[in-house]
Symmetry: C2
Subunit: 406 residues, 2 copies
């Protein structure tokens, strides 16, 4: 056990997920068991809450309420879009020092691991002993080294269940249906639209991910092909699709350019991309009943659609983070590794291995034409979306011979 | 038991729901038990399948597969948007007569009950004995006489779970969030956005239903009020909102005017209304982080979000329809009546009592200001959305005293 004694501070960053509170409660519950821990603090609103000293004492939470919070989606400590620079991180460190925080945990994506990295450097430079661990989460599944990231499997499950429903709806009332899925640079969440397919003609018939340059011509040809083959067409499109020169289709075609603190264009929270693609199909292919839905924030926050596998793993990365920091005096980022078929192992890697890097869909998950996924992707994703993933069924009744119209 | 012997014909009309196949299987399973029934036929694509004689023999379905289909959302026999006139209904009757159909069941909304009514009149005029029963379904919950309609409770559950997630997301990353909900004339589904509220400040803070004329001024004042009170604002808006002169806001503000066979303007399958309201708030209130999601087809077709109460009742209305038609030689529309707190009874009412009429949210369910629901609505809806409706929880940890910034 560590000789270091002091407080634990934990915060949640970036966009919420369905299981980010599992990681919070995994870390808090584990930390509350350790004699080296004098108090377990949580920062409200991510790193912003640290520099504002908006801290709460999680040592005084009931165990029962923590368990209820674990099952609640979104970030119970609330979040922030702040992306701390070096000066900001020094402020974070000063607050840690003032409160005798010796173990710092930040749950988030690659931006968050970068923050943890800089805070850790600041503490080292000041000769202040503190163990900092990054706990992974992101619905984008884009953290390097990790086989997958907590938060994605539940979001993937939501997307898969949504598209299974869309395909049934599209079969009942045929037409063209376009579903817009979150994912700026990585196509994992859009690819998940495929996971509810059961029958050969189930949609989505085509899937467009940011890993492949989007061509309007190819898209229109695909829609036409599906309409001819099935009399209907269902496609999944990533919000982050861009043309071959890297221009986001959202910007290219809608004129919307609101940017966040990270300099990114707003992609979510608007139906513009779907409506634009829908107009394109209506105009160019002269088709009726063309519809577009943008799946929106429900993908990351919907109450009640959670992968049990994801919930367990999110819980465990939180718990492991504390075991690495307090039990073994380590600093780093917790990573998930697939072993066997299917099991996982957790490791701790240096923070700068994760920070500011983005994983993309590997080539073997994308069909050669760039407009679909491969069976390798199914093999990868199926164990993650839950042991009780629902299935769809069809009538198999034989046709009745016609009497009047034979 | 009836002396009438012959075939059963069943079809599904209008938009899909999460439990419309429960009604199908309820009717088919019950019909297969009756000695008077020579065969159980299903029509593909609703009434269109009848006039085209696209029939399947459901007597040859396995019981197991029927049970799987019952748990699958959307219309397993597929649907149609055709709204039959008198000539069309006579064609339906002729096909029934040719195939010796003596029991006709049509699952759908008020348009469908109208069709059943006209087919029944045609058979009476021809002196052909046939019992016709309408089986209710609609996510809009707008059938008169019925306490509620199968399909709505599951759609309401989806909307409630979605908004519970949106409110948690909105708390984690504050801003203005606008959620657009299905419902052309009746506000029941939009009102359901309230059902996941737990804490006093949970959203949606305001709910705009078609029962109240929409005022842009009032809407902007409401958003401002919520922002001042909570630092964030979540609203639920029905796609069918209109100004005081009855002009749909969708048409007024977006210029989209695609109409269906019923002469209705397209409201679903586009994010335009949400984006327009979002632009209005950004422009008039000079606010950042204004987002809009349009919940779309997931509301009626999402795989895996079903109210157990709804599934049971949808099953029972199908079963009761057959018992009324075959056991008691009756024609009419099956209705659901609430007795006690909470239990239901099923009755059969004359078809013309249901046909072409629309139920609206009663006054006592809408707050006097017209921008919210009342506790009476909770009391009405809560038993319907399921015995296992998920709940949300919050941290209750006390604040830590500041050291640096005190």
């Amino acid at each position: 056990m560590s000789k270091l004694t002091g407080k634990v501070l934990i915060a949640q960053g970036g966009g919420p997920t369905a299981v980010i509170n599992q990681s919070l409660v995994g870390a808090v519950s584990e930390a509350r068991k350790h004699a080296e821990v004098t108090r377990v603090y949580g920062a409200l609103n991510g790193v912003r809450g640290i520099i504002n000293e908006d801290l709460v004492d999680l040592s005084q939470e009931t165990t029962r309420n923590l368990e209820y919070v674990a099952q609640t989606p979104s970030s119970a400590l609330h979040s922030t879009r702040d992306k701390p620079d070096e000066a900001y991180c020094k402020e974070i460190f000063k607050v840690c020092q003032a409160h005798d925080v010796r173990f710092f945990f930040y749950i988030g994506g690659n931006d968050s691991s970068d923050t943890v990295h800089i805070v850790n450097e600041a503490s080292k430079a000041a000769g202040y002993e503190m163990h900092c661990v990054h706990i992974p989460k992101t619905v984008d599944n884009d953290l390097v080294i990790n086989d997958h990231t907590p938060g994605w499997p539940s979001a993937a499950r939501y997307v898969a269940q949504a598209f299974a429903g869309y395909t049934l709806d599209n079969q009942a009332l045929p037409g063209v249906f376009i579903g817009i899925v979150m994912g700026r640079h990585a196509g994992f969440l859009t690819a998940a639209a495929s996971l509810g397919r059961k029958f050969e003609d189930d949609g989505p018939h085509y899937i467009y991910m940011p890993e492949t340059a989007f061509s309007e011509e190819q898209f229109l040809t695909d829609v036409k092909t599906a309409m001819e083959k099935y009399g209907r067409c269902l496609v999944a499109v990533s919000e982050g699709i861009h043309d071959k020169d890297g221009n986001p289709m959202m910007v290219k075609l809608s004129g919307r350019t609101e940017k966040d603190a990270h300099g990114n264009v707003q992609l979510s929270g608007s139906g513009a991309l779907g409506d634009m693609l829908s107009d394109l199909v209506t105009r160019e292919l002269k088709l009726k009943r063309v519809r577009a839905d943008t799946l929106g924030y429900a993908q990351r926050s919907f109450l009640g659609v959670v992968s049990d596998v994801d919930a367990s793993e999110a819980r465990e990365v939180g718990e492991k983070a504390v075991q690495f920091a307090i039990g073994q005096d380590m600093t780093g980022s917790v990573t998930i590794h697939r072993v066997g078929n299917y099991a996982v192992e957790y490791r701790l890697v240096p923070l700068h291995h994760i920070a500011a890097k983005t994983k993309h869909m590997p080539k073997e998950f994308i069909a050669p034409e760039g407009n679909n996924v491969t069976p390798e992707f199914y093999h990868y994703a199926r164990p993650l979306i839950g042991s009780d993933f629902p299935t769809i069924s069809r009538l198999r009744a034989p046709k009745v011979e016609k009497i009047l119209k034979k």
